[in-house]
Symmetry: C2
Amino acid sequence: MTAEWLELPADTPFGVDNLPFGVFSTDDEAPRVGVAVGERVLDLAPLAAGEGLDGAHVFESPSLNDFLALGRPSWVAVRAWLIELLTHPGSADVVEPHLVDRSAARLHLPVEVGDYVDFYASEHHATNVGRIFRPDAAPLTPNWRHLPIGYHGRSGTLVISGTDIVRPMGQRRLADSPEPVFGPSTRLDIEAEVAYIVGVPTDLGQRVSVDDFADHVFGVCLLNDWSARDIQAWEYVPLGPFLGKSFGTSLSPWVVPLAALDSARVALPGQDPEPLPYLRGSTPEAAFGLDLQLEVRINGTLVARPPYATTYWSPAQMLAHLTVNGASLRTGDIFASGTVSGSEPGQRGSLLELTWNGTEPLTLADGTERGFLRDGDEVSISAWAPTADGGRLGFGTVSGRVVAAR
Amino acid sequence: MTAEWLELPADTPFGVDNLPFGVFSTDDEAPRVGVAVGERVLDLAPLAAGEGLDGAHVFESPSLNDFLALGRPSWVAVRAWLIELLTHPGSADVVEPHLVDRSAARLHLPVEVGDYVDFYASEHHATNVGRIFRPDAAPLTPNWRHLPIGYHGRSGTLVISGTDIVRPMGQRRLADSPEPVFGPSTRLDIEAEVAYIVGVPTDLGQRVSVDDFADHVFGVCLLNDWSARDIQAWEYVPLGPFLGKSFGTSLSPWVVPLAALDSARVALPGQDPEPLPYLRGSTPEAAFGLDLQLEVRINGTLVARPPYATTYWSPAQMLAHLTVNGASLRTGDIFASGTVSGSEPGQRGSLLELTWNGTEPLTLADGTERGFLRDGDEVSISAWAPTADGGRLGFGTVSGRVVAAR
């Protein structure tokens, strides 16, 4: 489904069945809304204005928030308009002038972030972490299968893919001492996650049912929840992660619309016990999973292929839980899955798990070993999803390089 | 220190040595910046414009953010200008037209909130909670005296004083069952807290030293961190509080400038062990406490008088800790003390502690008993601080009424 004139390579992550939204700037123009098409970015504001599209001014904004706040009917209409334009043989003259080479486009955070919530939705991940951090207890806490555990992260330190990550300083406790020491983290880690971008807000006191998920969530990104395991281990009892996470969280630039992921919807791997009614939809399909295949690379070496389809809690269940107490949503809120890990060792989305807390180091292509990250390491996470025609669409990557502590 | 023409009552919380900033609207004008003066609100934008004050337009904004972002030199200059105007016998003609009766002013959230962090800085509170929730363990976790424990709360559900609080629904576990039940919280509680409003932002990777606190923090509010203890107890292991807190957090409307609290600065009650160097200032005075006397009322009955001066961790230490890993600040970030509790039973800032988890109910003036809050209960928290002339200044109140679950 494309027009010949676009000359998209067959393996592009950003074909016409994807059309992810982002924010870009060029040397001569401020940040504005764009859509990734192959290796180019479609500059929506002038195209939409020229074509007389209703509400075209929302694309002049330096974030997607104005567009997202318009709601699902507008998302559907704009997507249909774009697909029509891009697949029409005669629209080259109209579209071509607004296609910017990716090399000339600087990408920015796609949304002005409201609250950022991180969940803990992968059973394999939670089980691995429990075994590593609490070896004398049951790996899953008693609440784990009853609710999607989540917590609030720092929204002000969400950064766009490509931003350097400064190794954090902090307190950690060495094994042989009851007193903490202070210095750069020595156990800097990643968490490969799937993030959901909220478009339509709610009022305080209102809940979002599992069925209404797609009326509020516009699309999906990739997220790397950089984690300093030594800082985290010392600080997190009893109120949860804080400085071990808040020094930086990287987000991929392109928001893949939920509407592009119909063919990626899969049943959850199974929930036992049956969740409480507020965590169920009117049909089992409402609490869908997504067949996203993640790939984690360190300095180019593929170190893990976490399968998101193995995740226990559905995105719609996470949102229903987040709002069941009446907590309101804002346009630009982000909630993420937590680390995606599958059942196999090569499917784990964190070094904590991949190297079993550093005891089983990985070997990279250059022959060097990694327990945790070294300064200079570049981590990139990408993902693919199936399309209706048996192909696949891509999420692009979220990447970041570790730089030395200051 | 005032002008006769202002006719301020001697016991006003908002005398000329206070001058707290807030945001108000009237029937005929949109939200804008005001300063509380006695029982009236000074409409700053037209006064500042009329007087030719530099940057007067920042007061036309519907939040304090633009003013706060100007930084400490501007805060100092505006305060000096206001004091000069309000204490000058001849300025009645200039000022009087811009004084709005409080009864005609609707108050709004004073800032557009960035991130909201809640600490756990009171040793008496943390000890009480530890005894109640973890009776078989040491009441303080091993990290407690080494760092100010904190976590991120939901900034999107911070609400202005006076907003109704809907009793949250959620999962809780009954004592005789391993399975959770779902329904309205039956252990709805308050937390009386002191909140700090960040004015000057930092870059990612930058730290704020204890000495530099007052260059970044503009002022102080009161905060009620409503807490559903039953939801919290079931959800909070291992990642901390989430839905037990995120349904609503109330903020007082008036931000008392740090500059008004010089006479309230006191030494901390004592820290053992000595904190790590990043938690110390160049002088002991840099990590100051504040002699704020809080008062908690339920339906008008005074139920507690928490003395903030007993708090273990200083606000400057909390900020130094929050940023030691390089986490950046934004204008409008808020961080709070956690529940303020003193050593005496009548000084505890939560019902959890005041009623020892509901086992020792309070009796209100109307003869009814409270373990936790009932629908219809109105909670108000106020505070006072000493002034240079031996008087006191007030913070006003943060209040909220509990309404039935939906």
